[in-house]
Symmetry: C2
Subunit: 290 residues, 2 copies
C-alpha cells in the first residue's frame, strides 16, 4: 500500500513554481499577482485565505487581501470585483466562499472576468473544461488529477467511481478523468445520495474518489482489493484529545480501508495541500496569458 | 416492450409550441424568429437545415436561411454572426456544422452571443448546463430527456450507461440524467472506446443510451432483460433496396435487442425528431428572454 503524500507533491510543485517566478523576475517581467476577497470573519474561510496568501509568499507571487465586512452590500462587492477585473496589476483573483446569505453567490461568480477566474467557477471556465478547451480548471479536481499523474497511477480504461456530484469536485473530476487525456480515458460512474446499489458499484471500482462530505462513509466492505482511494472529504469532527478540540476526518474509514488499497490519500495531507498549488498554477497561467 | 414514438411526441410538442405562438400573435407580440447559417452544399447539412426551416413554418415561427459559399472566409462568416448577434429581430440562430476545414469551428461557436445560442454549444451554455443553471441545453440531449419525461420512465437511482463521450450528446446527457432533477438522479456511467469490461457494464444497466456512431454496436448479449434503450445513432448504411441506396441505422442491433427491452427508440423515428423540437423550444425560450 502506497500512502499518497500530497504535502510532499505540493512542496515539489511549489518549488517548481518558485523557480519559474525567479526566472520571470530575472528577465525583469511582471511577477504573478493573486488577489483574494474575504467577506466577514468565518473561521474556516480565514484559515483558507491565510493559507493561500502564505502560499503566494512561498513561491514569490505578489498577493493582495481585500477584507470586507460581513454586512457589505452585494453592489459594493460587485464594485470591488469590477475594480479587480480592470486592474492590470492583478492577474487572477478569488472571492472566498461561502458568502453571507444576503449576497447572490452565483451572481458574484459570474461577475468575475473569466480570464482572471483562477478558481475556475465561472460558467465559461466550467464549459471550456467540459468541452476540453484550455481553461482554468477548479482547484480540487485539478489537484486530484495532478496527484494521479505524479504517482503515475494508470486510470486509462479503468473503472473509476466518483462518490458525490458537487459542481466543485465530484462533477468536474468525473469529467476530467473520463476525457481523452493523460491521466484520463477512465470509465467513470458518478454515484450520489439517490444511487441504488452504491456499495456494489463501489466494490467494482478500480479507483474510488470520495467527495460526499460524510466522515468515514467508505468502509472496507465497499472496496476491492488493490483499489486506488482518493479521499476529498475534510469534515471537522470532535477530538477532545487535540488542542483545538477538533480534527479533520475524510470520507474514507482510513484504518479499515488502507490495508486493502494499492494507493490511498490520507486526510489531512492528501488532496488538501494540492488544492492550493492548483490555485497557484492557475495564477501563473493567468499571468502568462496577460 | 414499448416502442418510443419520437415522431408522435415531437408532433405533440410542435402543436404545443404552435399554440403558444398563436397566443403570442394574438397579443400583438413579436413572433419568435430563428435564423440559420448554412455554409456550402453538404447533402446532410442541406437536409438538416431544410427540416429546421420546415419545422419553423409548422409552428408559426419566422425563419431566415443565410447561405454562404463553401469558400467563404472565416472573417466573412464572423461578420455574418456579428450581424445576427446585433439584429433585434432574430431571437436565436445556429451555424450548421460541420464547417469547411479552413474555418475554426470552435472560434465560430464562441462568436455567437450566448443569449442567441439556441444550439447550446457555446461554453457559457455548456457551463451553465453543467452547473444546473438555466441555459440553452443542446438539442439532442434535451430531446432525450424530454422523451424519458413524456414516457414517464423512472430513472431516479437507476443505473444508466451512456455509450460515447461526445461534447454534443454523450457528455451532456450523462450530466443531465445524473443531476438532481426530474427526470434525473440516475447513477450514470460513461463508457467509451477505451473502456474495459464494456459489455459487462452495459449488462448491468437499467438504461442504455447509445451515442457512439457505430451501427448495430449494442447487441442482445449486452442488454439486461427489461432495460430501457435510447438509440442516438444515425449512420447512413448501404441499402440497395431503397430508392436513395441508403438508410439510417442506429447504434443498437434493434431486431435482437428490442424483445428484451421495456422501452426502446427506433431509428429513424426515435431521438431524431426530438432534436428539432428541442431547437424550437430553445428559440421560444430565447424569444421570451428578449
Amino acid at each position: 500500500m502506497v500512502l499518497i503524500d500530497g504535502k510532499k507533491i505540493s512542496d515539489e510543485i511549489k518549488s517548481e513554481i518558485a523557480d519559474e517566478v525567479k526566472n520571470i523576475a530575472s528577465k525583469g517581467e511582471k511577477i504573478p499577482h493573486l488577489a483574494a476577497i474575504l467577506v466577514g470573519n468565518d473561521g474556516g474561510s480565514e484559515t483558507y485565505v491565510a493559507h493561500k496568501v502564505k502560499a503566494c509568499e512561498q513561491v514569490g507571487f505578489q498577493s493582495t487581501l481585500i477584507r470586507l465586512p460581513s454586512d457589505v452590500t452585494e453592489s459594493e462587492l460587485l464594485k470591488q470585483i469590477s475594480g479587480l477585473n480592470n486592474n492590470p496589476s492583478v492577474d487572477g483573483f478569488i472571492v472566498q466562499l461561502p458568502l453571507p446569505k444576503h449576497i447572490d453567490e452565483q451572481k458574484i461568480i459570474e461577475a468575475i472576468d473569466p480570464n482572471k477566474d483562477v478558481d475556475g467557477f465561472h460558467p465559461v471556465n466550467v464549459g471550456r473544461t467540459v468541452i476540453g478547451l484550455p481553461a482554468f480548471i477548479s482547484a480540487t479536481p485539478a489537484g486530484i488529477v495532478e496527484l494521479i499523474k505524479r504517482y503515475q497511477i494508470d486510470v486509462s480504461g479503468k473503472h473509476c467511481v466518483v462518490i458525490g456530484r458537487s459542481n466543485i469536485v465530484g462533477r468536474p473530476v468525473s469529467i476530467l478523468l473520463s476525457q481523452k487525456n493523460t491521466p484520463g480515458d477512465a470509465t467513470v460512474t458518478v454515484v450520489h445520495s439517490r444511487s441504488k446499489n452504491l456499495n456494489e458499484i463501489c466494490l467494482s471500482a478500480d479507483i474510488i474518489i470520495a467527495a460526499i462530505g460524510s466522515p468515514g462513509f467508505v468502509k472496507a466492505n465497499m472496496v476491492k482489493e488493490g483499489a486506488v482511494i482518493i479521499d476529498v472529504g475534510t469534515t471537522r469532527v470532535n477530538a477532545p484529545e487535540t488542542k483545538s478540540g477538533w480534527r479533520l476526518k475524510g470520507d474514507v474509514d482510513f484504518d479499515s480501508v488502507a490495508p486493502k488499497c494499492s494507493f490511498i490519500t490520507p486526510v489531512p495531507g492528501g488532496v488538501g495541500p494540492m488544492t492550493i498549488v492548483s490555485l497557484l498554477k492557475n495564477t501563473l497561467l493567468a499571468a502568462k496569458k496577460q
